[in-house]
């Protein structure tokens, strides 16, 4: 877990605790407790958890926007408070609010300037990226006039202008339509292909499912689990079986959902397997067309896991 | 839906009329317009403090207001706070405001007939601006109109020494000596002036003055000697030479044109020679 400089982990949290106090007379709320986490180079790590779990706090700590009460945060091998750490880091905040009067192009070029790109290069990069995110036609329109999806894309172009090695995205797909989400996924995957590390915070598990190599699950300021997505997938329980069949009579141990002529849709309980189903169908004289296990969604898995945490 | 609009318009009209009538009534009341604020103008430094860095502008605005206020001849009580306004406020805010000193003193002297206030104002100005010959010039005239010649001379002599002062001040200062009766000192100053005369014409004038005063001095000396002679001897001297012989005079003065003074033993008086004239007072 605690790798650093040596393997070039872009982001490391060691024993990080953060407390908040809204007013000085109130008791402080612990936003993060004893977080130990390392993002591996070149991976897409999903930071998952319900709202209020501490995802945004984690990201702000990573970017030096807030400071830990205990522990250490290292970004790109430097302390997170060091501005130099953020030169090759791109960030897309949740619901970004950019200065209204800037055009998309100006926004992206300004970010390039802050990252130290010379004028000609930042103009070129801005044009390229705006093209890439599909905003070339609106590049010179004021952001004030952008739709939410357009703002999101502009933010993404902005995050990428300085050719970052590490990209942090906070709820990047909120407000995007399915096409937008698809394009976004492709973009992130292409980043990964180029060796860029991606940290991605979301409470929408479907997004994580699309993209992540690993997921880190946060709940109430604690890191509950860090797993390969594949490993997680395989932990999803089977909730039942959906079987399409043709013909035959009543099938033992199954519920008939619908029947149109010969076409039948049957449901089997979870405590059986493919072999058992085939046998039951044969006995009923039905011909199997398709056997599909209905697994719990990642969401269900989550709730189960988190619920267990609660119970424990 | 038209009703509210109509009502609002009616209210608008009524309010305007009311305001107009009330205003007319207020004007008609015609109270003495001593602005209440005047009575509460804070003293010097505190007024400066109030100005928050904008003292000169505030002085300007007060000054403009004062000019309008003191031009209102109907208000007979308007001079009550004259000193407060000019010496206590305007020139406190802007001590270098020459025009305010001049105009204020003018009002004090000519209109309010308070020459004492005028001089106090001039003095303040001269204290703040020791090189302001203009103030000295007008202050001198103030004294002159009061018949206080030495006072006038004092101001004009000081002003004459200030940078940029016009030469006439020296002459005025000297003239006041004459007016005050100290002819000898006046002559000395005039003679000094002649060392650097501004031009031929002025030099001629000064010379004629010197001549006049010398003559006056001579006549006084002669008259005094004659009177002393009469006192002692009980008769008029035969001629002027006797005065010298009998030691009532050190020497016989000569008139400016070189001719001796003539004397009439019958009247006991010194006479002008033909062509000579003695200036006023004889």
């Amino acid at each position: 877990m605690g790798d650093d400089g040596g393997n070039g982990a872009p982001l490391v949290f060691r024993g990080v605790t953060k407390r908040y106090r809204t007013h000085f007379w109130q008791r402080p709320v612990t936003s993060l407790a004893g977080l130990d986490l390392a993002v591996r180079r070149g991976e897409i790590l999903g930071l998952l958890g319900p709202n209020g779990a501490g995802k945004t706090t984690t990201i702000k700590l990573a970017l030096g926007l807030i400071f830990p009460d205990a522990g250490e945060v290292r970004l790109m091998g430097r302390p997170a408070s060091d501005p130099a750490a953020r030169v090759r880091v791109g960030f897309l905040p949740e619901n970004p609010w950019f200065p209204d009067d800037l055009t998309g192009r100006e926004l992206v070029e300004f970010a390039g300037r802050l990252h130290g790109l010379p004028a000609a290069e930042r103009r070129r990069r801005a044009a390229e990226l705006l093209e890439l995110v599909g905003l070339a036609h609106a590049a010179d329109r004021a952001i004030r006039k952008y739709s939410k999806g357009m703002v999101q894309r502009a933010g993404m172009a902005r995050a990428l202008v300085a050719d970052p090695e590490f990209v942090i995205l906070d709820e990047p797909m909120s407000g995007l339509d399915p096409i937008g989400r698809r394009e976004f996924r492709d973009l992130v995957l292409s980043l990964r292909d180029r060796g860029v590390t991606v940290l991605f915070a979301s409470h929408v598990l479907a997004d994580a499912e699309m993209l992540c190599d690993r997921v880190a699950i946060l709940r109430q300021g604690r890191l509950v689990d860090v797993q390969e997505l594949g490993a997680l997938e395989s932990r999803r329980r089977i909730l039942g079986w959906e079987v399409e069949a043709r013909g035959g009579g009543p099938v033992a141990g199954a519920e008939e959902v619908s029947r149109r002529g010969e076409e039948r849709l049957l449901r089997f309980p979870p405590d059986t397997d493919a072999e058992g189903i085939l046998a039951a169908l044969r006995e009923a004289g039905a011909r199997p067309v398709a056997i599909v296990p209905r697994r719990e969604t990642l969401e269900d898995l989550f709730l189960r896991v988190l619920g267990r945490e609660e119970a424990a | 839906m038209r009703r509210p609009v109509a009502v609002l318009l009616a209210v608008l009209l009524a309010a305007t009329l009311l305001a107009g009538v009330a205003r007319a009534r207020l004007e008609g009341l015609g109270e003495t317009r001593v602005p209440a604020g005047l009575l509460y103008l804070p003293k010097g430094p505190w007024l400066r403090a109030l100005a928050l860095g904008q003292e000169e502008t505030l002085a300007d605005l007060l000054y403009i207001w004062a000019i309008q206020y003191y031009s209102n001849y109907e208000d007979t009580s308007r001079y009550d706070y004259l000193d407060q306004v000019f010496r206590g406020a305007i020139t406190e805010l802007d001590p270098y405001f020459t025009e305010a000193y001049l105009v204020g003193a003018l009002i004090m002297s000519v209109e309010a007939r308070r020459p004492d206030l005028a001089l106090a104002l001039y003095d303040k100005g001269l204290e703040k601006m020791p090189d302001n010959w203009e103030l000295g010039y007008w202050a001198g005239w103030e004294c002159y109109y009061q018949g206080r010649f030495l006072c006038a001379r004092d101001y004009w002599a000081r002003a004459a020494r200030m940078p940029g002062a016009p030469p006439v001040l020296t002459r005025l200062a000297a003239r006041m000596l004459e007016k005050a009766g100290d002819l000898a000192a006046a002559i000395r100053e005039y003679r000094r002036l002649l060392e650097h005369p501004p031009d031929e014409k002025t030099a001629r004038i000064i010379e004629s003055w010197i001549e006049r005063m010398s003559t006056e001095l001579d006549l006084r000396a002669l008259d005094a000697a004659i009177a002393a002679f009469r006192e002692e001897r009980g008769r008029c001297p035969r001629d002027l030479g006797e005065l010298v012989e009998e030691r009532f005079l050190a020497a016989l003065p000569e008139a400016a044109d070189g001719r001796p003074y003539r004397y009439d033993p019958r009247t006991c008086r010194v006479l002008p020679a033909p062509g000579q004239s003695f200036g006023g007072g004889r």
Binding site: L65, P83, P96, D101, A111 | W46, E56, E99
Partner: protein, 254 residues
Amino acid sequence: MERVLAIGGATFMEAIRHRILYLLLVFALVMIAFSRVLTLLTVGEDAKIIMDVGMTAIDLFGLMIALFVGVGVIFKEMERRTVQVTLAGPVARWEYVLGKYTGLAAAITLNAVLMALALFGMLLLRGAFSPALVVAVFMLWVELMFITAAAVFFSSFSTPIFSALFTAMLWVIGHLAWSLTLLESRLPEGLGRKVVHAVYLLVPDLEYGDVRALAVHGLPIPPARVAWATVYELAWAALLLAIACLAFRRRDLV
């Protein structure tokens, strides 16, 4: 430095987009033009009132621009999270504060220059312009640079309303400071006097830099006074900015 200038440029562009700025500028120009009318009411020299009113306009409207535009400059960004967008980049906290100041100072300078040009133009037309006035206006500009620093300083930790209040108070204190010497002279010898004296030394005194009276009346302006007053006020500005930067370093940008 590049980053400071980048943020400064962005802040400047934002500042001049505030409509209130144009309103204040127009008011100032009207005030200067109106002084021409006032000259009709004086007896003798009329240029003086144009100079006085013009410089008062520059002083007061400069202050108001700092109040209206300046006090929100950091706070609003913090409220709207836009500050996160900038500081999530490789920008140090002090660069951000200094950049904000630079942009704001540039906007205020632009306004001051416009007002000064209007004033000088009017005076030139009347043949009443004098170079000493440039010195007086320069000192007003130095005062505005100090006030702008105060506005940024307050903006870094309090809401716009309080920042405006504090900044205005500081301006008033700066112009009233000299009266502490009056107070001091009225107190009997002792602790009270020493305390007042100490307070006087700690408080910024803006009267040192006010050479308007000298310029308007054509009196000589000592170069030593101009130089040292400039150093004094700019040092105060640097002090306030330094404190703002330091305080901002460990601030949680929620």
